[in-house]
C-alpha cells in the first residue's frame, strides 16, 4: 500500500512539474506547428538561472521568476531566428539547443550548481505550510504554480490575441489576411513555451537540490510523448481540456516510468519504455480501425 502511495505521489509531483514542459511543447508543436527542439536546453537554462541566483542570495521565488524570464528570452531568440532570419523552425530549435548548452555552462560557471545548502522555494513553502519539506508540500507547491499558469493560459488562449496565436499553425496565410502579423504570434508563442519550460527547470533544480548541465536532456522527447499520450487518451476539445490532457499525459507517462523503475528496471532501459509507450498510444487507434475494417489514409511522412 505504501509503495502504491509513494509511486502515485512521485508521479503526481512529476506529472505536475513536467506538465509545464508538456504544455510548453503543446504551444509550439500544436498551436504554432513550430517543432521547437530547443526545449532540452531551455529547461536547463531555467535550472541554471534559478540555481545561480539562489546561490548568490536572491530570494528563491524571484530566482524562479528570473528563470521564467530567461526562458521567455530564449524563446524569443528561437522565434526571431525563424521569423526574421527565415531559418527553418526545426533548425532554429536545434541551433538554440546547441548554442544554449555553452551559455548554460557559462551561467553556472561549471557543469553543475549544488543547492542543497541553500533555502529554496520548496523549503519556504514547506515552512509556510508547516509540513517540514516532504512530498506533500512539494506537490502542493507545484500544484499551486501549475494552477496559476493553467488559469492564465486558459484565459489568454481564449482572448483575441490567443485566438490568433492558436490559428497561426492552422493557416498562417489566413491569419495574416485577417490582420494579424503571424511573425508576432510565433514570437509570442515561442517565448511563452520556453518560459514555461524554463520555469519547470527552475522548480526541478530546486527540488532535487542542484542544477546540472545535463538535466534537460530528453525533455523534448518527454514533452512530445506526453502530448501524444494526453491526446490519445483524452481526445481533448477546447482549451481547458487540452491543458488538462497535457498534465494528464505527463502524469501517465511519469507513472509508467516510475513503475518501471520500481520494478527494478535499470534506468538505461527507460528510454525504451518511453518509445514503446508512445508507439502503443499511437498504434491503438490504428489497430482499432483495422479491426473494424475502416478505411485508413496512407501513412504520413512529415
Amino acid at each position: 500500500m505504501d509503495t502504491i502511495a509513494s509511486v502515485l505521489s512521485v508521479s503526481l509531483y512529476e506529472g505536475l512539474v513536467f506538465g509545464l514542459v508538456t504544455i510548453g511543447v503543446y504551444l509550439t508543436f500544436r498551436f504554432l506547428t513550430f517543432p521547437d527542439l530547443s526545449v532540452d536546453s531551455t529547461f536547463t537554462l531555467g535550472g541554471a538561472i534559478a540555481g545561480v541566483l539562489i546561490v548568490n542570495g536572491v530570494n528563491p521565488f524571484v530566482a524562479t521568476l528570473g528563470a521564467f524570464a530567461g526562458g521567455l528570452c530564449a524563446g524569443l531568440v528561437t522565434g526571431f531566428l525563424n521569423t526574421e532570419l527565415r531559418i527553418s523552425a526545426l533548425l532554429a530549435g536545434i541551433l538554440m539547443m546547441v548554442g544554449l548548452y555553452s551559455v548554460n555552462l557559462r551561467i553556472m560557471g561549471g557543469a553543475n550548481v549544488p543547492l542543497l545548502r541553500e533555502v529554496n522555494s520548496f523549503d519556504v513553502v514547506a515552512g509556510l505550510l508547516g509540513l517540514g519539506g516532504g512530498m506533500v508540500s512539494s506537490i502542493i507547491f507545484v500544484a499551486l504554480v501549475v494552477l496559476v499558469f493553467f488559469l492564465i493560459l486558459n484565459w489568454f488562449l481564449r482572448t483575441e490575441i490567443g485566438l490568433a496565436l492558436r490559428a497561426t499553425g492552422d493557416s498562417e496565410q489566413m491569419v495574416r489576411s485577417l490582420g494579424t502579423d503571424t511573425n508576432k504570434t510565433v514570437l509570442l508563442g515561442c517565448a511563452l513555451s520556453n518560459g514555461l519550460v524554463a520555469l519547470a527547470g527552475a522548480l526541478v533544480a530546486q527540488n532535487q537540490g542542484f542544477s546540472d548541465v545535463g538535466m534537460g536532456i530528453g525533455m523534448i522527447v518527454m514533452g512530445l510523448a506526453a502530448v501524444i499520450i494526453g491526446e490519445g487518451l483524452f481526445h481533448p476539445k477546447g482549451i481547458a481540456p487540452i491543458l488538462l490532457a497535457c498534465l494528464g499525459g505527463t502524469f501517465v507517462y511519469r507513472l509508467f516510468l516510475t513503475i518501471a523503475l520500481r520494478l527494478g528496471m535499470p534506468p538505461g532501459d527507460l528510454k525504451l519504455v518511453t518509445a514503446l509507450l508512445v508507439i502503443v498510444v499511437l498504434a491503438i487507434p490504428y489497430v482499432q480501425k483495422r479491426l473494424r475494417h475502416e478505411w485508413m489514409p496512407p501513412a504520413q511522412r512529415l
Binding site: F156, R158, T159, E160, I161, G162, L163, A164, R166, A167, G169, D170, S171, Q173, M174, V175, R176, S177, L178, G179, T180, D181, T182, K237
Partner: protein, 276 residues
C-alpha cells in the same frame, strides 16, 4: 461607368511584377497592369495558366509589393507598401483550398471571430461573447446550410463546400472594401461549386461590395459578375463592361481575345473547362 473619384474602390497603376529576376527563368508575371474597380463592381478575371491572375490578387492583397513605380490604391489610400496583415481592413480573400481560408482546428465561431476583428487590433478581451455569437448565428443562417447550429464544431469536420461557404462569410464579415476570390470553387465538385458560386453572387450583392473573382472557367466568368477582364502574359487584354457582358458568348470572348492579343487563342484548358 462614371469614373468619379469617390466611387473608385481599387486603382492599380503601372503594376509590374517580376520573379527570379536575375536568372534564366525570369518570369514577368505582371507587365504593366492598370485597373480601376468601382463601387459594387463584380469583376471576373479569366486567363490561362501563367497569365498573371493570381499574381494580380496577391498584389492587391499585399502578399508582395509591385515593382518600383507601380501603385496600389484602395479607397483613396495608397497601400502599395503596406504588408498583407495591415490591409485586412480593406481586403477580404477566399483561396482555392478550403484549408487555407479557414483554420481547421478552431471552431466555426472562433474562425468567424478572427475575421470579425479585421479592422481592429487584437486585444486581451475575451474573443467570443454573446453578442458576437448572435451575430455569427445570423450571418451563418443566411447561408442556409445549417452551420448556425454548429458554432462549436471544429472547422476540419465540415465538408469542402461548407468550409468554402464559411470562408466566404469570413472574407466579407467586418466590411472589407474589396473581396478577392482566387478560383475559390476549383476544388469543389460541380454541384457544390454551383451552390458556392450562387452564394458568392448573393453575398456580393447583399454586402454591396466590390469583388474580383479569378476563374479558369469561361462560362462561370460569363454567367457571374458585372464585368469581365481577360489577362494574357501579364497584361489585361480584354475588359468588358456590364452592358456588353450580358450578350457575350464564349465565341465572342475568343474573338475579342484574338483581336486584342494579336495572336490565335490556343489555350485548350480554358475551352475545355468551359464545358464542365
Amino acid at each position: 461607368m462614371d469614373a468619379t473619384e469617390n466611387n473608385i474602390v481599387l486603382q492599380l497603376r503601372k503594376v509590374r511584377k517580376i520573379f527570379a529576376r536575375d536568372s534564366v527563368d525570369k518570369i514577368i508575371a505582371l507587365n504593366g497592369v492598370d485597373l480601376d474597380v468601382y463601387d459594387r463592381d463584380f469583376v471576373t478575371v479569366i486567363g490561362s495558366n501563367g497569365a498573371g491572375k493570381s499574381t494580380l490578387l496577391n498584389i492587391v492583397a499585399g502578399v508582395f509589393p509591385p515593382e518600383r513605380g507601380g501603385m496600389v490604391i484602395i479607397k483613396g489610400h495608397d497601400v502599395t507598401n503596406l504588408p498583407e496583415h495591415k490591409r485586412a481592413a480593406y481586403v477580404g480573400r477566399v483561396w482555392q483550398e478550403p484549408a487555407v481560408g479557414t483554420a481547421g482546428k478552431l471552431t466555426i465561431e472562433e474562425n468567424l471571430c478572427l475575421a470579425l476583428l479585421r479592422k481592429h487590433p487584437r486585444g486581451l478581451s475575451s474573443a467570443i461573447d454573446k453578442q458576437r455569437r448572435q451575430q455569427f448565428r445570423e450571418q451563418l443562417a443566411s447561408l442556409g446550410l445549417g452551420l448556425e447550429d454548429r458554432l462549436n464544431t471544429p472547422v476540419k469536420n465540415l465538408s469542402g463546400g461548407q468550409r468554402q461557404a464559411l470562408a466566404l462569410v469570413m472574407a466579407t464579415i467586418g466590411n472589407p472594401a474589396i473581396l478577392l476570390l482566387d478560383e475559390h470553387v476549383a476544388t469543389l465538385d460541380p454541384r457544390t461549386a454551383q451552390t458556392v458560386l450562387q452564394l458568392t453572387a448573393e453575398i456580393v450583392h447583399r454586402e454591396q461590395m466590390a469583388a474580383i473573382m479569378v476563374t479558369h472557367n469561361m462560362e462561370v466568368a460569363l454567367r457571374y459578375g458585372k464585368r469581365l477582364v481577360m489577362m494574357h502574359k501579364g497584361r489585361i487584354v480584354v475588359d468588358i463592361g456590364e452592358t456588353d457582358k450580358k450578350a457575350l458568348t464564349v465565341t465572342d470572348l475568343i474573338a475579342a481575345f484574338e483581336q486584342a492579343a494579336g495572336e490565335k487563342f490556343l489555350d485548350d484548358t480554358i475551352l475545355l473547362s468551359s464545358q464542365e
